[in-house]
């Protein structure tokens, strides 16, 4: 009610000012008349008109209208009529559009007005409100003739979840035009207008059986950009409306004014949206996409020559805040030249939200031959229906890049800078990878070198050498002692010759016998005394033997035997036998051997 009284006060201020400016028309016989229908139906509207025949109103106090709802603020109208034969008449009306609140009989108290220092009163009016006929009971607000409603499909949403807000005009009146439309500014929302066919055109719609002209003024998809309570402001618009005058025709002229145009300010309802923040635990790579999406990621070929283009298509299909969805981060091998993607947005805001496809096409140009991995791409979004995060992943793909077709080099030809060597791009440094083995384990500090065994083994050849050396030396010395050897051999040779002599004796060969004995003795002595053959004569023999302390008898005996042998070789002897000579010789050799050791 306070809203209405505010309107009323405003109206009064304007009206008063207006009246003061008008010329003081004839003001005698002031009348204040109130008119209203005596009978109304619940849900219907009626007009309460206060009529003055003067414009000199100093103050006007309307009656208490608590039992009725003021649908439209009071309209003020001044008419000056110059009827036939009558004096010029001035008529000022205040018109209230009211709607009953409940059934029953109500009395509207008189209105008071101060005109020319006097207080005038209208008569009181009794109105009987009857119940509406069946099928027409609805809330009072829908019973208005003209109103705008804000229709919101959801009042509780997650941040980023789509809401469809529609302002719709309902009218039983005929609308002549509009001005001063004040649309809400949707603070805190990202909005997408929905294209409604025949936007703003009137259609007939039945509301509870009552025909209404309706028109969609505006419809849009709203995406709350922050959490908390977000308000959608009401829409206010000034409409020029043709209203049928609820009057009796009084004259022919009056019929022309059956419909009068009125300016009405219509204010819609507003709405408050509870925006919940997105729950925690968002996956990596979540970038604010809210809705329900599908995701595809495809390359047009997986085998290509260097410097040939590859198309990578990423498509995000679905319903949600597509305009605010970013492509997932892509990781290309550094050898690929990547151009900014061509983005095709094929989505439309509809009464279901914004749905369609966001397609990005990347052109990749591998510059070097090789085998490359395009890592898997993950796209994450929040599904407000399921109230959970969803992550969709594409599979990793590999691309085999062959050598460039122009054959200018070993596989790394660049279209722009042929045969230019590139700096190796280093992305980071890390330690080198572990060695696979074999570990070639050994016991710690287990060395053969430096051990006792090692030194023993090292010394062994030297020791062996030292051991062998003296033995070897002795043998060598013995080999080099010719005299000793001759002496040692002398006995053996003499015995050999004696045995030869014996053989000759047995055969009766006297000459051979004596020769053998002679040689045996001669050689024996020569060997023992180490005398060369040239010096071997009897005198020398005697001298040397005596010098070696051989008994003289033995020496004489030797000389005697030698003489005998010499003689026997040239002349036969008979006084001694060969046997005796042989024995004698053996005896001499034995004796000399004993002496000349």
């Amino acid at each position: 009610m306070s809203k209405h009284s505010k309107y009323l006060l405003g109206f009064l201020a304007i009206a008063t000012a207006w009246l003061w400016l008008l010329p003081d028309l004839q003001a005698q016989d002031v009348k204040l008349k109130a008119t209203a229908p005596g009978k109304v139906v619940m849900g219907s509207r009626f007009e309460l008109v206060f009529e003055f025949n003067t414009n000199q109103i100093q103050a006007f106090q309307p009656p208490n209208l608590n039992n009725f709802q003021v649908v439209a603020p009071p309209q003020q109208e001044t008419r000056i009529s110059s009827g036939t034969g009558q004096a010029t008449q001035l008529k000022l009306t205040y018109t209230y559009t009211l709607s009953p609140k409940k059934a029953g009989t109500f009395t509207i108290e008189p209105a008071k007005a101060k005109i020319g220092g006097k207080i005038y009163k209208s008569e009181s009016i009794t109105i009987k409100v009857t119940k509406a006929p069946a099928g027409q009971n609805a809330s009072g607000s829908q019973r208005k003739d003209l109103y705008i409603r804000l229709l919101v499909d959801k009042k509780k949403v997650y941040k980023g979840e789509a809401i469809v807000a529609t302002f719709k005009l309902y009218s039983k009146l005929s609308i002549a035009g509009s001005n001063n439309s004040k649309e809400p500014d949707y603070n805190g929302f990202w909005t997408e207008e929905i294209e409604v066919p025949n936007m703003g055109q009137l259609r007939t719609e039945y509301i509870n059986g009552v025909p209404f002209q309706t028109a969609v003024l505006d419809s849009r998809v709203l995406f709350p950009q922050r959490s908390g309570e977000l308000k959608i402001d009401p829409w206010s618009i000034d409409l020029r409306v043709r209203i049928r005058q609820n009057r009796r025709r009084r004259s022919m002229f009056d019929s022309m004014f059956d419909y009068k145009e009125e300016n009405m300010t219509i204010v819609s309802n507003g709405a408050t949206i509870q925006v919940k923040p997105l729950p925690g635990g968002a996956p990596d790579g979540f970038d604010g996409a809210v809705g329900s999406f599908r995701f595809s990621h495809e390359i047009d070929k997986d085998s290509v020559a260097a410097n040939e283009g590859i198309n990578l298509k990423i498509a995000i299909r679905g319903n949600g805040n597509l305009n605010l969805v970013n492509n997932p981060a892509l990781d290309f091998p550094p050898e690929f030249e990547v151009y900014d993607p061509k983005v095709k947005n094929r989505f439309k805001p509809t009464s279901e939200g914004v749905s369609g496809t966001k397609e990005s096409e990347y052109l990749l140009i591998p510059r070097h031959a090789g085998r490359y991995e395009l890592p898997a791409v993950a796209f994450s979004f929040f599904d407000p229906q399921k109230e959970q995060y969803v992550t969709l992943s594409s599979e990793a793909s590999s691309i085999v890049v062959g050598k460039g077709s122009d054959g200018n080099g070993p596989g790394n030809v660049s279209n722009y800078s042929p045969n230019v060597k590139e700096e190796l791009a280093v992305f980071g440094s890390d330690i080198r990878y572990i060695k696979p083995g074999p570990a070639e384990l050994k016991e710690a500090n287990d060395y053969f070198i430096g051990s006792a065994g090692f030194y023993t083994l090292l010394a062994t050849p030297g020791l062996l050498f030292l051991l062998v050396l003296p033995l070897r030396r002795r043998q060598q010395l013995r080999n080099s002692d010719v005299v000793g050897q001759r002496q040692r051999k002398a006995n053996r040779i003499a015995n050999q010759r004696l045995s030869e002599a014996r053989k000759a004796m047995d055969q009766g060969a006297k000459n051979a016998f004596y020769e053998a004995v002679f040689k045996a003795l001669y050689g024996f002595v020569g060997d023992k005394l180490n005398l060369p053959v040239s010096e071997l004569n009897k005198a020398n023999i005697r001298e040397n033997l005596l010098g070696k302390q051989v008994a003289e008898s033995t020496v004489n005996e030797l000389i005697a035997v030698l003489d005998r042998c010499e003689m026997a070789r040239f002349a036969p002897v008979s006084d001694t036998t060969e046997q005796a000579i042989y024995d004698q010789s053996a005896n001499i050799i034995r004796q000399l051997e004993g002496h000349l050791k």
């Binding site: 330690i431 060695k435 083995g437 074999p438 570990a439 384990l441 053969f448 430096g450």
Partner: protein, 256 residues
């Protein structure tokens, strides 16, 4: 009876050799499984497996290298450096070890200028590690044998030409014997001598004397390599690559 004992002795020797071989191949297998852990990113498990092999007394440059890598991945920089250094000590010429060690060193706090370029000592280390120490030793023994045989031949032959040739061969054998023995002993002593250590305490103050009262000279941070000069009562006299020396307590170090 005597033959029986000999037989049993031989049997035991063979058995021992086989057993040793067996446990070594067991650890080779656990080395492989540690590598698998590493590859899957389970660095902690990899470290455990590698360390079990070290604890069993088996070492190799590859093992130390992989262990160093695993420590590097778990961001235990001083341990990574320690094992890289141990690996490099066993295989001085390995480029992978040198690379990772350099990378690990570059992440330590202390920046220390190195005196000299160390080219000669690097070359020398390379030379003495051309062959394993025991191979050097075996070569030395072989040339000792050649030397002795040559000398023996020299003594025995009467011909002058032969004598001359044998003298030449023996003296060559002597030179080679000496060289190989020296190289082997050098490598042996390099491997068995602890001459360097890594600082393991996050920050440690180096003192001028081997006691707590000594003047504070400078601070070192974990991961820095120091050379050990002498030790007194649990304190080590250390020298940095830039020539600075000072005393540090043994508990702040881990020997390479």
């Amino acid at each position: 009876m005597k033959h029986c004992l000999l037989f049993f002795g031989l049997l035991m020797l063979v058995g021992q050799l086989l057993a040793e071989n067996d446990s070594r191949s067991h650890y080779e297998l656990s080395f492989d499984s540690a590598n698998v852990h590493y590859n899957e990113g389970n660095y902690t498990e990899a470290i455990e497996s590698y360390r079990a092999i070290v604890q069993a007394g088996y070492v190799s440059s590859t093992l130390y290298f992989n262990l160093g890598n695993a420590y590097f991945k778990t961001e235990e920089l001083p341990s990574a450096i320690l094992f890289y250094e141990k690996a490099q000590k066993m295989a001085p010429g390995d480029p992978d070890i040198a690379f990772n060690l350099q990378l690990a060193h570059s992440q330590t706090v202390d920046k220390i200028e190195t005196l000299g370029d160390g080219t000669f000592s690097k070359w020398w280390l390379g030379v003495i590690h051309l062959l394993p120490a025991d191979v050097w030793g075996g070569l030395a023994i072989a040339f000792m044998v050649f030397l002795v045989a040559g000398l023996f031949g020299f003594i025995n032959t009467q011909k002058v030409a032969q004598k001359r040739l044998l003298l030449f061969l023996s003296s060559s054998a002597l030179v080679l014997f000496g060289t190989f023995l020296w190289l082997g002993l050098q490598q042996h002593s390099y491997q068995t001598t602890i001459a360097e250590a890594i600082v393991f305490s996050p920050t440690v103050t180096i003192k001028s004397e081997p006691n707590a009262q000594g003047n504070q000279l400078f601070n070192l941070h974990e991961g820095t390599k120091v050379a050990l000069l002498e030790s007194v009562n649990g304190w080590y006299n250390i020298r940095l690559a830039d020539g600075k020396t000072g005393w540090i307590q043994e508990q702040d170090l881990r020997m390479i």
